[in-house]
């Protein structure tokens, strides 16, 4: 049995979760990673995706858009721009995010166009995960 991690998920408006967990799967900007006890300290930005938290009793998933995660040996705190429990996330909600992102992409400067495209693609991938 692996040791416990303190996991915190906060959005600007509220604290969504704060509990002891065994592992956290994080959709990092450079690829997914899983944090367990004793992980090297890392700070990574997030891409839109599913954040999965495995605790001794249950597994909970959250749909997150941007933000970042701070991983230390004894805990993980995720600061997400927007986060909703996966069971509450509906296709329509993500669609509204996609529409919003498209609107912004249309206005964005050419330099930012690439990253916006990637952001939208990630959102669409997230959408397909939820629909499945």
């Amino acid at each position: 049995m692996a040791g416990a991690l303190q996991f915190d998920l906060v959005s600007p408006e509220r604290r969504l979760a704060s509990l002891q967990v065994v592992e956290v799967q994080i959709p990092g900007a450079d690829g997914d990673l899983t944090a367990m006890e004793g992980h090297a300290p890392v700070i990574t930005t997030l891409r839109p995706g599913v954040l999965k938290v495995v605790s001794a009793e249950a597994t909970r998933s959250f749909a997150v858009t941007g933000g970042f995660a701070e991983i230390t040996a004894s805990g993980v705190s995720v600061l997400a721009e927007r986060a909703v429990p996966l069971e509450e996330a509906t296709g329509a909600l993500i669609d509204s995010y996609v529409a919003e992102a498209r609107e912004q992409a249309a206005l964005a400067a050419a330099d930012d166009r690439d990253s916006m495209e990637k952001f939208i693609q990630d959102l669409i991938n997230l959408r397909s995960v939820i629909a499945a």
Binding site: D8, V10, S11, P12, E13, R14, R15, G28, A29, D30, A40, P41, V42, I43, T44, T45, G66, G67, F68, E70, S77, L79, E81, A109
Partner: protein, 290 residues
């Protein structure tokens, strides 16, 4: 001596004023609770955000090629003042204390030969500053339709500010808002957001961390978010302060109305007694004359 009917009417109108101020006070008290809860709920995010950014900023520091949001544009000619006030009045000195602080700062900067631009958030601040500062106003954000301040509003304001910064419209941005201390005390505060400053934030030891993608990459991603977070915190603090200020202003108004009712009632009773005495004298002297 005012006649009895007038006095009675005045007492009636002061009484209904007292009822209104009392009701407003209770509404403000209920809203204050909610606003305080919201401010409380937003705190962990803001704190974590600043501590991580402070750590990153310390390690990237003033190195060559640091993001402009952190290092600044290299000059401080043009200042943007973001003045946050309430949409509604009847909350004591709340709006005027922010407007006064902003006006003082603007005059100071102008005296130093700097250029000042003002972006107002909330109707009351715009009204107060329009009189003498209208030449410097470049925009206004209207939040009167918003029932509950959310992160979306903060993002909207931050996006506006960042777009102006990217377009080179200003060099330094400062937020003006009231920091909530207690129900009776709100502190007008000026907080510089661009370039970012972390004087009082405890920096997490950043050397410990690995960064993905890179320190610069994360910083570039975080700084705009940091601006939005600071705007959001300011909005929440302002919201709580507004309700606190309104609550104590309405409490005072209710008490004053009570005092006034007492005074008027005494005056009313005296006048009535005087009228009765006068009538009695008339009757008695009439009887004596017979």
């Amino acid at each position: 001596m005012p006649n009895l009917k007038d006095l009675k009417n005045r007492i009636g109108s002061v009484k209904s004023t007292r009822k209104i101020t009392k009701a407003m006070q209770m509404v403000a008290a209920a809203k204050l609770r909610r606003a305080q809860d919201a401010a409380e709920a937003g705190r962990p995010y803001a704190e974590r955000m600043t501590s991580v950014m402070a750590g990153l900023a310390a390690s990237v520091g003033n190195a060559e090629g640091a993001p402009r949001l952190l290092a600044g544009t290299g000059s401080d000619k043009v200042h943007l003042l973001v003045v946050m006030t309430a949409e509604r009045g009847l909350c004591g000195a709340f709006n005027s204390s922010i407007a006064r602080l902003a006006r003082l700062r603007a005059q100071e900067l102008l005296a130093q030969g700097k250029t000042v631009k003002i972006l107002t958030v909330g109707k009351k601040g715009r009204e107060q500053l329009r009189r003498d500062m209208s030449a410097y106003m470049i925009g206004h954000v209207d939040l009167s339709d918003v029932k509950r301040i959310g992160y979306a509003q903060a993002q909207m304001i931050a996006k506006d500010v960042l777009a102006r910064f990217a377009a080179g419209e200003f060099d330094v941005a400062t937020l003006f808002f009231n920091r909530f201390q207690s129900v009776i005390s709100q502190i007008p505060t000026a907080q510089q957001v661009i370039p970012a400053r972390f004087d009082d934030a405890p920096a997490t030891a950043s050397a410990l961390y690995d960064y993905e993608p890179s320190e610069e990459g994360i910083l570039a991603d975080l700084l705009p978010r940091g601006v939005a977070t600071q705007v959001f915190t300011a909005l929440l603090e302002n919201g709580a302060s507004e309700q606190g200020a309104r609550m104590s202003a309405m409490d005072n108004a209710t008490r004053n109305a009570g005092d006034m009712i007492n005074k008027l009632t005494i005056q009313y009773n005296r006048s009535r007694q005087a009228a009765i005495t006068k009538e009695l004298i008339e009757i008695i002297s009439g009887a004596e004359a017979l």
